[in-house]
Symmetry: C2
Subunit: 345 residues, 2 copies
């Protein structure tokens, strides 16, 4: 006899991550990974990590990494939480602040993981439709939301929101927690980290998966007031970030110059790709991420045509997104292959 799981688990629809094929050599432009390898210092750090430290439990509080991040952002260490990818950081924020039936507000469209994560805690979802090019609309009464999560840049379209417009919301709802997910911020022209310093109802999330080229090691973090950070530490798994990932992330933050260069290459190639796609008659949304959303008539056809040509992009079968595909900015060579394949469809 199978023991019954909780009602919530019985009703859950799990998140479906982008395809991660292992069997064939695709050009992988579907999960917003960075096409450039991590900084040489990161390899070096892992290889010389004192590997017999692997037998010991890792630092449960990631003190060294938090110290380095504290310098990078100019905030105290106890205002930083480090997690097993920003997946964990987001989940813990939802778990700490959403009781069953309370409302999480998301934008439509946005990162499709948010509603899935919130559902595991029985929260209700309210979608705020974005304007034509992905801008935030007026939101009349944000204080009815327990938590609101806003990605900036916001996938899959890629719009960025200014400190000023977010601050209006944040001030209008001081007991609502605002999570600003800046996973893609290093490809953008501005960021909102300062909001986490000025307001006690803001947590800004960052990740090592995108600009740092370290999706494989699973490190993300949140910056917020002490109260928020303490609550995350209260409910996380005891040793949530493994030793080698702590080593790799520390080395990555120290290699800022390398990463500035790869991010700037990606920004240039994004503008190049956007221009070419527009020439081909596609609609391209203004994006500040390492991806762009390109619209034709039938996104599924584009997706399938490209897949047949050995190129993976991301298609979302949702009313507002169905005409286009999200394309990760790869290397210039990958972009040229993509353009060739698109021209042949």
């Amino acid at each position: 006899m199978n023991p019954e799981p909780t009602k919530i688990v019985q009703e859950l629809k799990p998140y479906v991550p982008g395809e991660q094929p292992r069997d064939m050599k695709y050009i992988k432009l579907n999960t917003n990974e960075n096409p450039y390898p991590p900084a040489p210092g990161v390899f070096e750090a892992v290889k010389t990590a004192g590997l017999d430290r692997m037998r010991l439990y890792p630092d449960p509080l990631c003190k060294k990494l938090r110290g380095i991040l504290s310098q990078k952002h100019g905030v105290e260490t106890d205002r930083i939480f480090v997690g097993n990818g920003s997946d964990e950081v987001l989940r813990l924020l939802f778990q700490a602040y959403l009781s069953p039936g309370e409302i999480l507000a998301i934008t439509d469209p946005t990162y499709s993981l948010y509603p899935v994560l919130a559902a595991t805690f029985g929260a209700g979802i309210e979608s705020v439709p974005l304007e034509e090019e992905g801008q935030l609309p007026q939101i009349p009464d944000p204080s009815r939301f327990r938590v609101m999560v806003i990605a900036s840049p916001n996938p899959p379209l890629g719009a960025v929101y200014s400190e000023e417009e977010l601050e209006v919301l944040i001030k209008a709802a001081p007991s609502t927690l605002f999570i600003i997910d800046e996973a893609y911020v290093d490809f953008a022209e501005s960021d909102c980290m300062d909001l986490s310093k000025r307001h006690e109802n803001v947590a800004v999330c960052r990740t090592f998966s995108k600009s740092y080229s370290l999706a494989g090691i699973r490190v993300g973090y949140a910056v917020g007031c002490r109260g928020i950070i303490e609550n995350l530490y209260k409910i996380k798994d005891s040793y949530n970030v493994n030793y080698l990932s702590q080593v790799a992330a520390c080395a990555a933050v120290k290699a800022e110059e390398y990463y500035r260069q790869t991010a700037s290459r990606i920004r240039e190639d994004r503008e190049f790709l956007a221009g070419e796609l527009r020439e081909m008659g596609l609609r391209v949304y203004p994006s500040q991420g390492n991806f762009i959303f390109a619209e034709g008539e039938d996104g599924r056809k584009i997706y399938e045509g490209l897949k047949a040509a050995g190129i993976l992009v991301r298609y979302f079968d949702l009313p507002r997104l169905r005409r286009g595909v999200r394309i990760t900015i790869g290397t210039r060579k990958e972009i040229e292959e993509l353009l060739k394949a698109l021209a042949g469809l």
Copy 2:
């Protein structure tokens, strides 16, 4: 203004892991780590891991590792769940099967993380007092428990339970989920993995943190029926186990011979230490883990005296445990230092 966390989080008392001092060279016999380094093949695998794979997301389903574990245990791959340490595996089992107010049964004493984890989901706890030497008592009506977790060997005393006695319980409560935590099983004379094959209400948990000397990489797993495993996959973080840890764990399972030898050394040294402590007049519980519980009159005094001598052991300030300390089995040299320090107290 600080947004309010959920009622559950407001009332939580977080788990306190054993001390992990970074500042001074202690002999560390307090967190049941393995004193021997991981197998040479594990180092090799990490160093040659194709480190630029770090830029890509890891396999979200750990297919390769589950394939290897499936061979090791003779169960199908889809009956194995791999997590970010058995901490994550246990948390997900609790989250999937315990609704607020439902009862988790634990033994008293046992691993102190269980009630902390269950409390994060609002579950109630019922403690079943163990017999004199840590044996399981008769449990009249186990079907009133939603979930029961039993460690075998069971820390901090170290008793092991037989398949036969556990099967009586499991059959008496077919809609209760029984979690058998075999973190320490490779130091014991028998295991209960077969129960997960014969019963749909059993999950057996294992870890790479103890016998595999890999506490730093955070990999644990559960074996159970498909229904249980599917529920865990439904609620886990999308990419819960990082790439380097998957590589290290695969290499570890292939180095069984090395690990058989280190485990057998630890078993011998456990018996040596137990004998010496008994000679010194301490009560030592029969343990099949890589630790023993030694009782005098005042555990805190023993703990403090040893700490002053540069040796860390674990003291639990609980009625039943307060007279003793839990000592991890270190190398023979560490054990001799411990005995010398104890003689001097």
